[in-house]
C-alpha cells in the first residue's frame, strides 16, 4: 500500500510517496510558489500528475496546520469540507489553500480517498488555564488568539512511541513525557494522563522558543516602545519579529538550529546558550505541572540534536531524579514529518478497512 503525503507550507508544497513497512520515501518532490497554481487548478493537477503517477499511491494524506477541534485522521467528505470552511476565520491563509488542494486532488485523482492530519489535534485537550491569556474575555474572543501548539503530529508520534514502548516503567501506567520538537521554530510540550498539559508555543510564533528567524517569547512592553519610539506600525513590527529576529538576530546571519550547535563562533555560542536556557525554562515548567518526569523525547527536523541535548538535559534534571527517586530517560524519534504522516494514514486506513469489514 502507498500513501501520497502532501505538506502545504507558506510558499512550497512538499510531496512524497511512502510504502507501508518501508522506512524511506519512494519519491519526494516539491513545488515552489504552488499558491500561484491554486488559481489555475488544471495546471496544478497537471503538474502533480506529471510528477506523481496516479498508479503509485492508494491514499492521499494532507498535513494541516489547523483543524480547530477536529481530531484527525479525518477522511474527507462533504461534511469535512463544510467544517473546514467554517474554520477559515481562524486560519485565513492556510485553510483556504488546503480546501483548494482537496478540490484539485478530488478532481484529478477521484476515487482515491483523502485523509487529513491536524497539527492542532494533539493540543485539543489543553487545559483552559494553559490556553488563555489574562485579558478581557470578550476582547480575547475578538482577537482570536489562544495558546496552542504547532507540532502536534511530531508530539503525537513521539508520545505514542513512548506509550507503546516495552521499556516503559511498569509501575507507572501513565508516563510523564516531555516532548521536544526541534524545528526552525521548536516546541516543547508536557504530556501526561493522555493529554497535553502545556505547550511552549503561543497562539502564533510570537511566543515560545527562539526560532531561526522569529523572536519567540518577548516582553509586550517592547512592542509598545517600538511603536512609540520608532513609530512602526503593527505589520512592520510583526515582519521584523517573525522574519529578522531569533537566531538570525543573535548571530547576524541566517544559520540553522543545527548550526548553532556545531559551529564554534562566539555568536553561535551565544545563540546556543539562549536556546538551552529556554529549554530549561520550559522543561522546568513541564516537570512542575506533571509532578515529575519519566521520559524526554526529541523529534523534528533537527531530532538528531537530541544526541547533544539529551545527556545535557539529564544532567540538569539530576536533582529531579534524586527527589522523585526514579530515573528520567531520553529517546530520539528520527522519522521526518512525512514518514509520520504516512504511518498515521496507513494506520487509519487499515483500521477503517477493518471497521468496514466487521
Amino acid at each position: 500500500m502507498h500513501v501520497l503525503v502532501l505538506r502545504p507550507e507558506m510558499n512550497t508544497l512538499h510531496l512524497s510517496v511512502y510504502e507501508n513497512q518501508k522506512r524511506s520515501e519512494l519519491l519526494a518532490t516539491e513545488l515552489v510558489d504552488y499558491t500561484d497554481y491554486l488559481e489555475h487548478p488544471g495546471e496544478l493537477s497537471g503538474w502533480i500528475a506529471r510528477h506523481i503517477p496516479a498508479q503509485s499511491f492508494d491514499v492521499i494524506c494532507i498535513r494541516c496546520l489547523f483543524g480547530g477541534q477536529m481530531e484527525g485522521p479525518e477522511w474527507v467528505t462533504e461534511k469535512t469540507i463544510k467544517h473546514l470552511e467554517q474554520l477559515i476565520a481562524y486560519s485565513p491563509v492556510h485553510l483556504p489553500r488546503v480546501l483548494e488542494l482537496i478540490r484539485v486532488l478530488q478532481q484529478t485523482f477521484m476515487p482515491i480517498p483523502i485523509v487529513l492530519l491536524f497539527e492542532t489535534a494533539f493540543f485539543k485537550m489543553l487545559p483552559e488555564r494553559e490556553k488563555i491569556y489574562a485579558i478581557e474575555y470578550t476582547q480575547a474572543k475578538e482577537l482570536g488568539v489562544e495558546r496552542r501548539g504547532f507540532h502536534g503530529l511530531f508530539h503525537m508520534a513521539a508520545c505514542g512511541r513512548t506509550l507503546h514502548s516495552k521499556e516503559q516503567c511498569p509501575v507507572r501506567t501513565s508516563p510523564r513525557i516531555i516532548s521536544i520538537c526541534l524545528e526552525p521554530i521548536s516546541e516543547i510540550a508536557a504530556f501526561f494522563g493522555n493529554r497535553a498539559l502545556i505547550t511552549s508555543s503561543g497562539g502564533t510564533v510570537l511566543e515560545g522558543l527562539i526560532g531561526e528567524k522569529s523572536c519567540g517569547q518577548i516582553d509586550p512592553g517592547i512592542i509598545l516602545d517600538i511603536a512609540r519610539e520608532i513609530k512602526w506600525g503593527p505589520e512592520e513590527i510583526s515582519q521584523v519579529l517573525t522574519q529578522k529576529s531569533g537566531i538570525l538576530a543573535l548571530v547576524g546571519k541566517a544559520v540553522t538550529l543545527r548550526d548553532i550547535f556545531l559551529k564554534k563562533s562566539n555568536a553561535c555560542k551565544r545563540a546556543r546558550d539562549v536556546f538551552q536556557y529556554q529549554v530549561i525554562q520550559h522543561c522546568g515548567a513541564a516537570i512542575a505541572v506533571m509532578g515529575g518526569c519519566d521520559k524526554i523525547v526529541f523529534s523534528g527536523k533537527y531530532a538528531a540534536l537530541g544526541e547533544i541535548l539529551g545527556p545535557w538535559l539529564l544532567e540538569i534534571c539530576r536533582p529531579v531524579m534524586r527527589y522523585q527517586q526514579r530515573p528520567i530517560t531520553y529517546e530520539i524519534l528520527y522519522e521526518p514529518i512525512d514518514r509520520i504522516c504516512a504511518d498515521m494514514a496507513f494506520s487509519s486506513f487499515l483500521s477503517q478497512k477493518k471497521h468496514t469489514a466487521s
Binding site: 487545559p127 483552559e128 488555564r129 494553559e130 488563555i132 491569556y133 489574562a134 485579558i135 478581557e136 474575555y137 476582547q139 482577537l143 488568539v145 502545556i198 503561543g202 497562539g203 510570537l206 511566543e207 523572536c215 518577548i218 516582553d219 509586550p220 512592553g221 517592547i222 512592542i223 509598545l224 516602545d225 517600538i226 511603536a227 512609540r228 519610539e229 520608532i230 506600525g233 503593527p234 513590527i237 510583526s238 521584523v240 519579529l241 529578522k244 529576529s245 538576530a249 543573535l250 551565544r270 545563540a271 536556557y277 530549561i280 525554562q281 522543561c283 522546568g284 515548567a285 513541564a286 516537570i287 512542575a288 505541572v289 509532578g291 540538569i316 534534571c317 536533582p319 534524586r322 527527589y323
Partner: protein, 393 residues
C-alpha cells in the same frame, strides 16, 4: 544615623524613618490620594510611637506631598534626619548599585524617566524638591533593577535586531529587586547559609505587582518581569506573559494608539480582565463560582510553571521564599502552588502553613522536605535604609 526613606507611587508617598545601623523604625506614614483630582481627600496618615494621626492637607503632586511630610516631621522635631533614601523602580543600565545623588545623576535619571513612566517621574520630583529645599541632606537612590544586574546575557538579551535593542536599551531588567534581595538575605540568615552560597527562588506575590526571582550564590540570575513590569505572572491588572500578536492586533484595532493599548494591558487586564469584577486575587478566591475558579486556576498555574522553570534552572535550591501581601498572608495560595512539587524536593506542612498565627519569618516545609519553604515579611523601606546607610558610610 537617622535615615528617612521615601517610596513613591503614582498617587501615594510612603515614608519611614530608621535609626541605623540598628534598623529600628522610629516613625512612618503615608501621604494618600496625591494628585490634582484627589486634592479634596488628600491626607497624611502618620505613625509615631504606635500612635496614628491623620492630617488632611491638599497635595496636588509628589513634590507637594514631600513638602507636607517634611513640614510635619520638622514641626514634630521628634528625630533629626541625617540622610534620605529613595526607592527608584528603574535605573536602566546606568545604575546597577545604590547611588548618591548629584547633578550628573539627576540629569541621567531625567533622561531615562520613560523606562518606568508611572514610577520614576514622581520619585524624581521628590529628589529634585529635596535637592532644592534641603541641600545639606545627602540623598541616595536605591534601584529595584539593581539586584538583577547579574542576570546573565543568555537570560537578559532580547533576540531582535541589535540596532533596535541599542536604540531603546532593550534587555531584561527585572523588578522588585530590593524586596527579593532583602528576603533572600533574611532567608539565608534564617537557615544559617552564607549569602554568597545561597540558592533560592523568591516569590514576591503582591496584591498589585508580582514577580519571581531565581537566585544562585546570592545573585539574581533571572526575574519573571523583563524589560517592563508587564512580563511574567498574571497580576492584578497586568497581563503578564502573552503572545506578542495580541499587542500587535490591539495596535491595529486602536489605530496605532500605544497609550490606549498600554492602558489596556497594564490597567484593565490580569485578574481584573479575567474576572471582570476584581483586581485582587483574594476577592476572587473568596468566591466559589465557576468563573472565579477558572481565574484562580490560571493565576496559580502561571506561578507554578515559572516556579518549576526556576527550580530546574537554579539547581540545588536551599529554599523557596514567599513574600509580600499575597505570599505572606494567603496560605491556600502557597499550598496550591507547592502542591505536586515533591519532584523538586518541596513538601509543605499543611498544618504549619495553615496556622492562624503564623509568626514571620516562618518555615512551612515539612520536617523531611529537603528544600525549605519560608514565609518572610518584606520591608523594602528597611532594605533601602540599610543600603543608604552603607553607601554613605
Amino acid at each position: 544615623m537617622n535615615i528617612l526613606v521615601f517610596n513613591s507611587g503614582s498617587s501615594s508617598l510612603k515614608y519611614k524613618l530608621f535609626s541605623m545601623p540598628e534598623g529600628k523604625e522610629l516613625l512612618g506614614g503615608e501621604a494618600q490620594k496625591v494628585g490634582p483630582a484627589m486634592t479634596a481627600s488628600s491626607r497624611i496618615v502618620h505613625r509615631i510611637n504606635g500612635v496614628e494621626s491623620i492630617h488632611k492637607v491638599p497635595m496636588t503632586n509628589p513634590a507637594a506631598a514631600f513638602a507636607e511630610v517634611m513640614k510635619l516631621l520638622t514641626a514634630e522635631q521628634a528625630f533629626p534626619i541625617d540622610a534620605i533614601g529613595h526607592r527608584m523602580v528603574h535605573g536602566g543600565t546606568f545604575f546597577t548599585r545604590e547611588t548618591i545623588v548629584d547633578e550628573a545623576v539627576l540629569a541621567t535619571m531625567k533622561r531615562i524617566e520613560n523606562l518606568a513612566p508611572i514610577h520614576n517621574p514622581p520619585s524624581l520630583q521628590i529628589v529634585e524638591s529635596c535637592q532644592a529645599q534641603y541641600r545639606s541632606l545627602r540623598q541616595v537612590l536605591v534601584f529595584d533593577t539593581a539586584f538583577h544586574s547579574t542576570i546573565p546575557d543568555y537570560a537578559s538579551c532580547c533576540p531582535i535586531p541589535s540596532r533596535i535593542c541599542r536604540k531603546l536599551g532593550i534587555r531584561k531588567y527585572g523588578f522588585h529587586g530590593t524586596s527579593h534581595e532583602y528576603v533572600c538575605r533574611q532567608a539565608a540568615e534564617f537557615l544559617g547559609v552564607p549569602f554568597e552560597e545561597f540558592n533560592a527562588v523568591s516569590c514576591h506575590l503582591g496584591s498589585g505587582g508580582a514577580s519571581l526571582c531565581a537566585v544562585r550564590q546570592g545573585c539574581s540570575i533571572d526575574n519573571t518581569m523583563g524589560y517592563s513590569p508587564l512580563q511574567g505572572l498574571i497580576m492584578s491588572t497586568r497581563t503578564g506573559q502573552l503572545d506578542a500578536a495580541i499587542p500587535l492586533k490591539l495596535l491595529s484595532l486602536y489605530g496605532n494608539d500605544y497609550h490606549s493599548v498600554s492602558q489596556f494591558l497594564n490597567s484593565r487586564s490580569g485578574i481584573l480582565g479575567l474576572s471582570q469584577k476584581y483586581s485582587d486575587i483574594r476577592d476572587v478566591l473568596a468566591e466559589t463560582n465557576e468563573n472565579s475558579r477558572a481565574v484562580t486556576d490560571a493565576y496559580l498555574w502561571r506561578i507554578q510553571k515559572y516556579l518549576g522553570s526556576y527550580l530546574l534552572y537554579v539547581g540545588d535550591v536551599h529554599a523557596v521564599i514567599f513574600t509580600d501581601t499575597i505570599g505572606e498572608t494567603m496560605a491556600s495560595v502557597r499550598w496550591e502552588i507547592c502542591a505536586n512539587l515533591s519532584c523538586f524536593g518541596i513538601q509543605v506542612d499543611y498544618a504549619v502553613n495553615s496556622g492562624e498565627q503564623l509568626k514571620l519569618p516562618a518555615d512551612i516545609a515539612s520536617a523531611d522536605s529537603p528544600v525549605r519553604v519560608l514565609v518572610i515579611q518584606t520591608d523594602e523601606e528597611k532594605a533601602i535604609a540599610t543600603k543608604t546607610y552603607w553607601k554613605l558610610n
